[in-house]
Amino acid sequence: MKAPVPMHIPDGFLSVAVSGILWVVSLIFIFIALKKAGKEIDESRLPLVGVLAAAIFAGQMLNFAVAGGTSGHLLGAALAVLLVGPWPAVLVMTSVVTVQALVFQDGGVLTLGANLFNMAIVGVAVAYFVSDLFKHWFGDKRWATLLTAFAAGWFSIFIAALAASLELAFSGTSPANIAIPAMGGIHALIGIGEGLITLGAVSLIMSSKPQLLEKKAEEKVGSSFVWISGLVLTVVLLIISPLASSKPDGLEWVAEKLGFLIMAQDASYHIIPDYVLPGIQNEALATIMAGAVGVVIVMALVLLLTRRKTSQTAKH
């Protein structure tokens, strides 16, 4: 059994400024979710949120083998949205991510605000926005519902990963031209696993208890806020990410001006953003290429190690 979806940022990887700002943003969102829940959810839904959080935590341990020792996992934000609607889903994912950080040290405590932002807010908002959009476009025929489930799963993972990589870049932990292609690339693949599991789960629920997937009456109230957040986050992150990864020094310059880069304040900080990669004239292209090559090398090493590990466990 492996650890859940690898998107949890450990302590030490984010600057104090980035952690602090995202704590504030997350707390505001969770506070609204609690207010909504207090108003709309009667007490009978309280155990539902708690137990669903436990189920999603357990569900994150499920996996299926893909190839070469890698496997598909579930994060669960999209599934939570499809089952209980956006605001309760924020609370479900908040519980999952918080318990993971406090009890299992999966993700840091100081970076918990950022992890909550990525998984409980970006993940949920994007999944809600995408699923609502797809429902609007394709209706609720069987194939459309399944497509919606897949899309909600994939987008929630991919956009959340872009948010995480931008946070890492803003903290000066890793240059944007490495962080964004690496996190984005890996999670574009991980998102397929998420999408497929969400699709499978929805297909089972459709055939046994379809009424669970119907839009809830209480969901109407105040959900447009989540919808718009989802739209804004998706569009902004999709636009910023390629821009930032082609101009990593620009992002670091902005971060430095805003005082985000505490760890980069020591002198001798002159960025010459080119790697040694012979044969490519275009500087931006060479930078991205070299970043990609570095990522591939490290990934190959990691795959080799995990593969050896799985083959060893298979022998036992």
Binding site: L48, V99, G200, M263
Partner: protein, 272 residues
Amino acid sequence: MPVDIEQRASYEYGDSLLHLCDARIKITLLMVYLITTALLPVGAWAVYLLMGGVLLIVAVLSEIPASLLLKRALLLEVPILLVLIPQIFLKTGNFIEINPWSGFAFSLSLTRLERVASLLVRSWLSLQFAVIIMSATRFEDVLAGLRACGLPRMLTAIFGLMWRYLYVLLDEMHNLTQARRARSSTLQGSFKQAGGSVWWRAQVTGGMAGMLMLRSLDRSQRIYQAMQARGYDGEIRSEAAAIPLTKAQYFSIAAFILAGLLMVLLANGMAA
């Protein structure tokens, strides 16, 4: 490499000084340690060593075997490393050229190397410290402490419920996984996956996740009925939260904060 979730299960029974300490004090100590570590500049190795000393003292106070504590902190996640490592080959700051054979050369940025190394050390210190504190504190006490520090009632209740049913649902998940394994086994030493294509495996796993959700929804219904029958009003009750902190406890919190500030000042003073 990631460790099994059961092996990382939080609380390790004991009656050491750290175990007996009030949860609110431990939470404060953890937060001060984490914020201090995050504020330390790059390359302040002497102060890192001091922080390591603090960690060692707390580890000794916990009376939990070091091997267990170390094992629980082995949580390095692969994608995060992918994001971290490649930058040391950037031509940034103070770098050297390495030319192992003609026609091939790469640069190694010492500035970036120091940054990455500092980051990994601080990250490990934070993680290890959190592991020690949480291994010596029951989650129920953490919750009661957080409630006393102002965590909303509803969130406390949700966290508590999740914690209460976490292992129940992990058991459900184990049952589902075991059933799948019984029906689609793999030959020993073979890399060929049994039971169909990746698509098929994904659908089976999805079905399992769906089943898990359905069972959890059913269970939540029953739980609510049981809670109502017992007169639940949404508050968890704990003795720990009810006792006000003593003067000595307030002093120790102030001492932690002061010590943290000193560490940050010391590190910055040495860097300047």
